[in-house]
Symmetry: C2
Subunit: 219 residues, 2 copies
DNA sequence: TCGTGTTCGTTAGAAGTTGTAACGCAACGA
DNA sequence: TCGTTGCGTTACAACTTCTAACGAACACGA
């Protein structure tokens, strides 16, 4: 996963066990969700006793934090790869996002689902979020736009610190935000099963929302 | 909460204890979320031993199911009251939804948050969902609209069983769906704290999305 | 090659949780 | 008044997270 160059055998072994634990954790997560994640069960499946894992993770929260970080990284990688292959294309990003979400719904909810009460994301995740947002802003800035300035757009022009030093127009900032929330709105309800009774095709709905997003007259 | 007319003292007492348990559960839920809900803790706070509560709820899941049902009912009541006061007004419904969500974020996530893996909603909840959707459809049908028929709109025209026997145009169906997903997109990310680093005003963003929804040229 | 110290995995155990079983008691209804 | 029903208790099983103490394996410097 990372460089295994100047590491002692101990560090190498340690990293490998941590990776194996996380692999089992992802398996368990995909099967039953984050709340059902059990360090004991993972240990047993690895042929170790429960407390052994506490040599590698301080507690259950640290493991989950690690999984959340990996999930963010995975999304950032997906966006980076999409942008590298298709350029700043909002439509491509949207489909990459949907594929990424459908590939492992529990991973999506780990990032965008119900927050754990006491939990607070570590600082380095904000860097990953910033990269994801930058890629999205690039794509939104490249979109054709003939929509007039909106009240919220001018509000965003004065509160754009979240965009870092990205040279996007207020309309692009607004578009990036709606891109995020609208697609999340469709995806999260679809993944949570709120569409299951209704027999329409979620993919078509997603496409319709995306179409509205990439219009020159949007948002 | 309900009629206490032709009930035996036992049934009355039973209903009262169940209500008290649920009250403590809501308290605990608002404080620490659904995953931290403990039957034992509730029992102790009520001055009883843990297993006593199993006379009133078969298990933890049944209690949570009851809370989810109450949450749905609460939203349906809010929508019904709003429609009774303001008529079929999508804007009023949107603000009612936002107020309802902000009033108790954990309650919102109980309904629209990360689903519990093994959990399946009981049938009677679909009736409540149907009422909520009907109110929303009424409001969307009353909205002025000059937008042309969309591809997804015609798809919805052929898959409209979820709308029950509501006589709404395909455009209204489409509008109701986007109303739901777009507002949920903003609300869920706001409540989950994903906007906290970014210093814009979520209320303005919500208003902007609502404005886009109630336009005659929407969606 | 031989200590030495770090680290790993173990078992034991504390303090929780959900949930079941068996018991006594109180209350309701005939 | 008396029997049935239901309630709350304790005891217990089977889990969970997580700490403490111990022995063994390992890496490393002398």
């Amino acid at each position: 996963m990372t460089d295994t160059g100047t590491e002692t055998p101990r560090e190498r072994y340690r990293a490998q066990v941590r990776a194996e634990v996380k692999a089992h954790a992802w398996e368990q997560l995909a099967a039953a969700g984050a709340s059902a994640l059990s360090l004991n069960a993972i240990a047993k499946r690895m042929g170790m006793s429960g407390p052994a894992l506490y040599r590698y993770f301080a507690n259950r929260d640290e493991l989950i934090t690690e999984l959340i970080r990996d999930a963010y990284r995975s999304l950032a990688d997906t966006f980076r790869a999409t942008a590298a292959a298709a350029g700043p294309d909002a439509s491509a990003l949207a489909h990459a996002l949907r594929d990424w979400a459908l590939q492992d719904p529990h991973r999506y909810f780990l990032v965008y689902g119900t927050p754990v009460p006491g939990y607070h994301a570590p600082d380095d995740i904000t860097d990953i979020v910033r990269e994801i947002m930058a890629t999205l802003l690039d794509a939104c800035a490249a979109l054709p736009s003939d929509s007039p300035a909106t009240p919220f757009g001018s509000h965003l022009a004065e509160h754009r610190r979240w965009a870092g030093d990205h040279p996007a127009e207020p309309a692009a900032l607004h578009r990036a935000l709606t891109f995020w929330t609208r697609l999340h709105g469709v995806l999260s309800l679809e993944l949570a099963g709120h569409f299951t009774g209704m027999e329409f095709d979620p993919a078509l709905f997603f496409a319709a929302e995306l179409e509205g997003l990439t219009n020159a007259s949007a948002p």
